[in-house]
């Protein structure tokens, strides 16, 4: 265990990665281009003859589409095509499948079902002309009453949103449950203490700084479609395009270039992509479509929107016995949620979190509303953001009920190291953990007892005064993640098992090329995956080139989301490198005229056991493998290998977070004074990059807890469709993060590494909300829904009821 000094992980020294042979603080290879403005993002791509697309969108949340008149737009001198739902219907492309076995309208044909929905697509010579032409399209709508509040979606007489589906009578998408309902009810029936609370995890949006886009290029001569696009899962996109468009898969090349952040926003296929492809087919020229920010916020995958009722059962002395949860999930107008096929509520059922609980049950109902589709995005690890928030709020509610310190209550109930591998009451097998140690590490860094003493002191002083001083709050969140989807027996995306391939080729001079199926969007894969190869083969990190994002060049795999890159593709990389190393052993045996069984591996060399002077370096072996050396029968020469890694289980990283906030009781303004985050993701391939991942996720937590929400008015108008209203934290709202770490390796992962990318986004919102509610305890506040904006906190202090998701009185 090491608790790093908050100031101790700064600069990396000079010289970059040269000569570094493996794990550690290696400066990033990808930085060289980004700091020079030489990244290659989708909108940087310019192809000969390229045209530009723009989308006409619905102003209504729910309306019948009566007519779409494109005459004037088509007459625009710079317009080359106008595509409508009718055009697409002729190609059988007006609807496309989603990742949840539903369909989504590409361009509306019958009705519009959310504000901002795609109605027509213009292709023109310039971006500006395409936008001009949108104004020339005349659409006739007949407005229909919308469903805005998910809690009314199943009411008798609620407007039917999906009348496109034969026989559908209501807005229910699915009912799904996990855990043992009977056993849980029994535990609740004889529990000494039961606490329940309704809470909303409001609709937010991942808002990557680069929006979604594509350059589609259909070559009519070769019949090959090339798309450069913002995708986190290029191979899955290729297969879906093949299935949807009927193009043969070997004639589709999906290239994911540099991506300006994904955060789950760039997993699915959006109507704009399909339109651009059709636009290229229709015009015979490349077509670029790049959405603007308001389009991104209004129409691409939202996150969360879970209305949860949590119940926790415990003994009077603070032994947690059961958890029961009902969820109403707002999925918008089409079920486009991205998750493994068998998990309609993602991995929400890890909601028992980090605690030893007798019984648990959850029931999730998904409903349609007149909003954009999505749900799983924004570093949620398939709904674990919601699960972690629920349980960590419930623990604090129980602590308040029992008048127990929330840290003490957690320490009393956390799973102990000797319980791993731990089978949870909802069917997960946690791989490894040492939770109390990690929580104590965070409490040490924060100086927890001193903080509580300061808080008690302030409260005592405020008791007799008018109470204009800031209210101090301390919030804890202890989370368990479940990342690395996943075992292909249980987990697939549209029938594609969630295993990932890797190919490694060592050139004659000992330099290597690694080809992987995952797609970085800033997480540093070009560096860390080279580190894995360097670690396994004992060659410099700079001697390994990582190729990703081009489906013609890389092995099949499911892409990057759910923090799955390190657990799945990282494991594949270690395995493929070990295959190469074993091949190298045979070549070295031939070189050294020794039985390969008599060789032993030392970093970078196979040596004759016990004789370091007699050996061959990886570089020497590579040259010999390509040379004239006589190799044993069955060894073909060269030095390469391929593999497919099917993970035996997920990895379960965890962390202990402590937030300290000050709340101004006069204005409701919350200031995050300190934030301590101790993450345990097993072995750290590159601690510098892990820390950067955590920093970014903690900023997400500040944003979600205090600022971000996509609210709607009663007509279904989207009230958070720009950065004027959808507020993201800047450098001013974020404190200087204080990090620590513990290391509990994953026993089943070849490197002992777990995923970590989403941990901080999963873990941090509850810490901040717990801190704010803790600060407001003198006002008798039990709970307050995110986002805790100054206006909302002020309302809470005043005891005024309100909804953060609706601008409806």
């Amino acid at each position: 265990m090491s608790a790093s000094n908050p100031d101790g992980h700064g600069p990396n020294g000079h010289g970059g990665p040269n000569g570094h042979h493996g794990f550690g603080r290696v400066a990033r290879k990808e930085d060289a281009r980004f700091i020079r403005g030489k990244g290659n993002y989708v909108d940087d791509i310019k192809l000969p003859g390229m045209l530009y697309g723009a989308i006409l969108r619905s102003p209504h949340a729910h309306a019948r589409l009566l007519s779409v008149d494109t005459t004037a737009a088509e007459a625009h001198p710079q317009v080359r095509a106008v595509i409508t739902g009718e055009t697409l219907a002729g190609l059988n492309l007006a609807w496309m499948p989603t990742l949840s076995n539903d369909v989504q309208a590409v361009l509306a044909t019958d009705k519009v079902r959310f504000q901002g929905q795609e109605v027509a697509f213009v292709v023109a010579e310039t971006h500006y002309a395409a936008r001009d032409a949108l104004e020339l399209i005349d659409v006739d709508y007949e407005a229909l009453p919308p469903v805005v509040d998910a809690r009314t979606a199943l009411d008798d007489g609620a407007p039917l949103i999906r009348d496109d589906v034969e026989g559908r009578a209501d807005n229910r998408i699915f009912d799904w449950e996990a855990g043992d309902a009977e056993e849980t009810d029994r535990v609740f029936d004889d529990a000494e203490v039961v606490v329940s609370q309704d809470m909303l995890y409001p609709r937010v949006h991942p808002a990557p700084l680069e929006t979604c886009g594509i350059v589609a290029d259909m070559d009519k001569v070769t019949g090959k479609l090339t798309v450069h696009t913002t995708t986190q899962a290029p191979h899955a996109h290729r297969t879906v395009y093949a299935l949807v468009a009927g193009l043969p898969e070997h004639k589709i090349r999906v290239v994911s270039p540099d991506i300006g952040g994904g955060f789950g926003n760039k997993v699915g296929i959006y109507p704009g992509y399909v339109c651009a492809i059709v636009g290229s087919i229709v015009t015979g020229r490349p077509v670029k479509w790049m959405e603007d920010r308001s389009e991104n916020l209004m129409t691409t995958s939202f996150a969360r929107d879970y209305h949860m009722r949590g119940e926790i059962a415990a003994t009077r002395d603070g032994r947690i016995r059961g958890l029961r949860v009902r969820v109403l999930a707002d999925h918008g107008a089409f079920n486009g949620t991205a998750q493994p096929t068998k998990f309609p509520a993602g991995f929400f059922h890890v909601f028992t979190g980090s605690y030893d609980i007798e019984a648990a049950h959850c029931a999730v109902t998904g409903v349609y509303t007149n909003k954009a589709p999505g749900g799983v995005a924004y570093a949620c690890s398939f709904r674990i953001t919601e699960a972690a928030y629920l349980v960590e709020r419930m623990i604090d509610l129980l602590a308040a009920e029992l008048d127990t310190d929330p840290a003490e209550l957690r320490l009393r109930n956390l799973l102990r190291a000797e319980q791993f591998p731990y089978s949870s009451p909802t069917g997960w097998e946690y791989d490894s953990g040492d939770y109390p140690r990690t929580l104590r590490t965070a409490m040490d860094i924060a100086g927890y007892d001193d903080l509580r003493a300061e808080q008690a002191d302030r409260r005592a002083r405020a008791a007799g005064a008018r109470g204009d001083d800031p209210l101090m709050g301390i919030g804890i969140s202890f989370f368990t993640e479940a990342v690395g989807a996943g075992p292909r027996k249980h987990m697939d995306i549209l029938g594609l098992g969630m295993a990932d391939g890797a190919e490694l080729r060592v050139h004659p001079t000992g330099k290597a090329v690694l080809r992987i199926s995952v797609q970085t969007q800033g997480q540093g894969h070009e560096t860390t995956f080279a580190q894995i190869v360097a670690h396994e083969l004992g060659i410099p990190v700079d001697d390994v080139e990582v190729v990703h994002g081009d489906t013609d060049q890389t092995p099949f795999g499911l892409g990057t989301y759910g923090s799955r890159s390190t657990p799945v593709s990282g494991a594949a990389t270690a395995v493929v490198a070990r295959k190469v190393r074993e091949r190298a052993r045979i070549v070295a045996g031939a070189m050294l005229e020794a039985d390969p069984e008599d060789l032993e591996w030392t970093p970078g060399r196979w040596i004759v056991r016990g004789d370091p002077s007699s050996g061959a370096t990886m570089q020497e072996i590579a040259m010999a493998a390509h040379g004239s050396l006589e190799l044993p029968d069955g060894v073909e020469g060269h030095l390469d290998a391929t593999t497919v890694y099917n993970p035996p289980n997920l990895t379960y990283p965890f962390g202990a977070y402590i937030a300290v906030v000050d709340v101004d009781p006069g204005t409701g303004k919350v200031t995050v004074r300190r934030f301590v985050a101790v993450d345990d993701c097993g072995v750290r391939i590159n601690p510098m990059i892990v820390e950067g991942q955590v920093h970014g996720g903690l900023a997400d937590g500040v944003g979600m807890a205090l600022m971000q929400v996509m609210a709607f008015d009663e007509d279904g108008n989207h009230l958070g469709a720009s950065f004027m209203d959808y507020l993201l934290p800047t450098s001013m709202e974020c404190p200087s993060w204080e990090l620590g770490e513990t290391v509990t390796p994953s026993p089943h992962h070849p490197l002992g590494a777990k995923g970590v990318g989403e941990s901080a986004t999963v873990g941090s919102p509850a810490a901040i909300v717990n801190a704010v509610v803790d600060a407001l305890r003198p006002y008798g506040v039990r709970h307050a829904d995110m986002p805790l904006t100054p206006a909302n906190v002020w309302r809470v202090i005043q005891g005024r009821p309100f909804r953060t998701d609706l601008a409806i009185p």
């Binding site: 970059g16 909108d43 700084l209 300006g260 952040g261 900023a699 720009s722 800047t730 450098s731």
Partner: protein, 161 residues
């Protein structure tokens, strides 16, 4: 209309529509794609460049307004093959991840350091507060700017006339 904008020291003459935004002039006309476009409401600052020595959001400047003036972009930070200390600092301190906000962040950072060579953390945070980063949580950006302050270029920055 015909405009001449001096970009990174090079006069560039183009015939453009008056409504063309400077960010699109730089990206689409001059192929200087380091400057990015992250929002449509002038909040994110991914498009920050210098206009006559002042950082501006180039999505909120018309190209014609830059005619006859000097623009400096991320592509002009490196001088004679030498990285600006700010560029070096962002790499040393892991001040970037996806890289999309980085050009704008670095342009403001350079401007800050030219005026305040030894800024406090609070000054750095305030200077960068018109710009959004979705990846770094800002911590390492602050450290990157401090690194650059502590490792100034050997020769003083030449003053742009």
């Amino acid at each position: 209309m015909n405009i001449t904008v001096t970009v990174n020291g090079q006069p560039c003459t183009r015939d453009v529509e008056p409504r063309l935004l400077l960010v699109h002039f730089l990206r689409d006309e001059l192929d200087l794609t380091g400057t990015h476009w992250g929002c449509d409401t002038s909040n994110c600052g991914a498009c920050v460049v210098w206009l006559d020595d002042v950082p501006v959001k180039s999505c909120t400047v018309l190209a014609v307004m830059a005619s006859g003036r000097e623009v400096r972009t991320v592509e002009g930070l490196e001088r004679d093959g030498e990285l600006d200390p700010v560029q070096q600092g962002f790499t040393e301190c892991h001040g970037l991840q996806c890289g999309f906000c980085t050009p704008g962040m670095m342009m403001t950072s350079r401007w800050l350091l030219d005026r305040s060579p030894d800024p406090t953390e609070a000054e750095i945070r305030e200077a960068l507060s018109g710009q959004i980063c979705r990846c770094t949580g800002y911590e390492n950006i602050v450290r990157s700017v401090r690194w650059a302050a502590e490792h100034p270029a050997e020769k003083p920055e030449e003053v742009t006339p």
